[in-house]
């Protein structure tokens, strides 16, 4: 009898007032927040006070954080950034398709298709092993050097091709890891129903694999968005090159800071979104 009355008392309390445990945890939370706030304030204060004390601060401020130059160049930079977005927009789907094709090449099992498999392996090895900028130079200067007629000598085409070649290799590896991550029992189930190997890949394995690697591919495409700036080395006046032009014009580095801000405005939300997807997927797995 006495036991049940104690239990009743406990449940009564939890419905009205916070329990001992809740009070304790709320205290811990308040304490952690206080400490985090204080330590952040100290670090920010130190930066704000100490950096301007550096001997070159005035010069740096004039060269990199010049409000007048920023206002004059920012619209032009934004306009140039449209070119980055365009190059990104037409290379991304090409990369997705090529990457998928290469991944499938590497996954072929039939002996007659061994050359394809070999090609897939060689492709990913070569293009993951080269600096992006080097591929852009070799293809961007090399192919137009063949003396092709317009518009086939355009650096846009060959620069884009260079990006597609390199990034497909990475995307292919990511997709392949997705294919490997699908449990053997899924293939068994498909085989037991009499599905062919091709149908098993197309309807059972690939749809799951591609879904699993969306966050990892998002990260690659964020990197691609930044690497579009490398095309400036072979001609196209995109944001990085435009910033360089402004730098010479105003004898001031502020346009580079402006360009950096524009990149961050795009890449930070995209990165956060990719992280969000990744976390969601990890939660779903556990």
């Amino acid at each position: 009898m006495s036991e049940t009355s104690v239990q009743n008392k406990a449940t009564e309390r939890s419905s009205s007032a916070p329990t001992r445990r809740e009070v304790y945890e709320a205290g811990i939370r308040r304490r952690s927040n206080r400490i985090a706030l204080t330590s952040t304030a100290i670090v920010v204060l130190a930066i704000v006070v100490l950096v301007p004390l550096a001997p070159g601060w005035d010069a740096v401020q004039r060269a990199f954080f010049n409000g007048r130059v920023f206002a004059a160049t920012f619209p032009g930079l934004l306009e140039a950034f449209l070119l980055n977005v365009m190059i990104f927009a037409w290379s991304a789907p090409l990369i997705a398709i090529t990457g998928l094709a290469i991944a499938l090449c590497r996954d072929t099992r039939a002996p007659a298709l061994f050359p394809l498999r070999l090609f897939g392996i060689a492709y990913t090895d070569v293009f993951r092993g080269l600096p992006v900028v080097l591929v852009i130079y070799i293809i961007g200067f090399g192919v137009p050097g063949l003396g092709l007629p317009r518009p086939w000598n355009s650096p846009y085409i060959w620069g884009t091709l260079a990006l597609v070649l390199v990034y497909s290799a990475y995307v292919a590896e990511v997709i392949r890891s997705g294919i490997d991550s699908i449990h053997q029992s899924q293939r068994s189930a498909a085989a037991s129903l009499g599905l062919s190997d091709q149908d098993t890949m197309r309807f059972v394995v690939l749809p799951q694999a591609v879904r699993n690697v969306v966050p990892a591919n998002m990260n690659l495409f964020i990197a691609l968005q930044k690497d579009v700036a490398l095309l400036s080395f072979i001609g196209p006046v995109e944001i990085f090159r435009q910033a360089g032009v402004y730098k010479s014009l105003y004898a001031n580095f502020t346009p580079y800071v402006g360009a950096a801000l524009i990149f961050l405005a795009l890449t930070i939300p995209a990165t956060r979104y990719a992280d969000y997807l990744m976390n969601k997927q990890n939660r779903a797995r556990t």
Partner: protein, 243 residues
């Protein structure tokens, strides 16, 4: 009764470990055979060999008098005749229950959704899943998933159904609904081979019970004989543990 499936001297090894050490077994048409035995005794492997998911190393398997264990034989037509249901359901998680069921008939037998829908709807209704056709596997309970897996195998209209410990992963209160499906199939005269730990079920419905031990069928017979008066010491010991 004609013999539907027959195994002679079937051997299967994984690396150094021989899982099936010469198994002979006959399954007659409309018969229900239960394989019992401890974990690792070779029940699952034997089932996987029967529908050629695992190639056998030696011996032979006949289906309707045709040797299906011939090396180099295309396994796909054979697998269409022998359905299998796995312990872990193995539904395709990215498809609805109905899509899971229709994939193989569509791709392998070239039927379209409209033609399939009446029959599939009827199968779902028959197994108490009429409301669940549009659900994804992770929206279904274990028992429901396993019933969808059975429907998926049945949709190919196989002549034999293999069941690999299909209730072992289920919560106890869900086992009954899956066993009911097997009772239903039994009444329809489906030829079935089950690897199972459900001794009560085997005793109630099986025509023949085979006790597997270390890759051999040590003892086989009708359930009333095997459960009541086992001959081998190991069978006695096993039954004493599980009954």
């Amino acid at each position: 009764m004609t013999t539907k499936l027959s195994l002679r001297g079937v051997r299967k090894r994984f690396g150094d470990h021989e899982v099936c050490k010469g198994i002979d077994l006959d399954v007659a048409e409309g018969e229900m055979v239960c394989l019992i035995g401890a974990s690792g005794s070779g029940k699952s492997t034997l089932l996987r060999c029967m529908n050629l998911l695992e190639p056998i190393d030696d011996g032979a398997i006949w289906l309707d008098g045709v040797d299906i264990s011939e090396p180099g034989l295309d396994p796909q037509p054979v697998r269409q005749q022998i359905g299998i249901v796995f312990q872990s359901y193995n539904l395709f998680p990215h498809m609805t229950a109905a899509e899971n069921v229709m994939l193989a008939p569509r791709r392998v037998r070239g039927l379209n959704r409209q033609d399939l829908l009446p029959r599939v709807t009827q199968l779902f209704a028959r197994f108490g899943l009429g409301e669940r056709m549009g659900h994804y596997p992770d929206q279904l309970s274990g028992g429901q998933q396993q019933r969808v897996a059975i429907i998926r195998a049945l949709a190919m209209e196989p002549q034999i159904m293999l069941f690999d410990e299909i209730t072992s992963a289920l919560d106890p209160e869900l086992v009954g609904e899956v066993l009911d499906v097997l009772r239903d199939l039994r009444q329809q005269g489906m030829t079935m081979v089950l690897a199972t730990h459900e001794m009560g079920f085997a005793r109630e419905l099986a025509d023949k019970v085979c006790f597997l031990d270390a890759g051999r069928i040590l003892e086989q017979g009708p359930p009333e004989v095997l459960f009541a008066a086992p001959q081998e010491e190991r069978t006695k010991a096993f039954l004493a543990r599980v009954l």
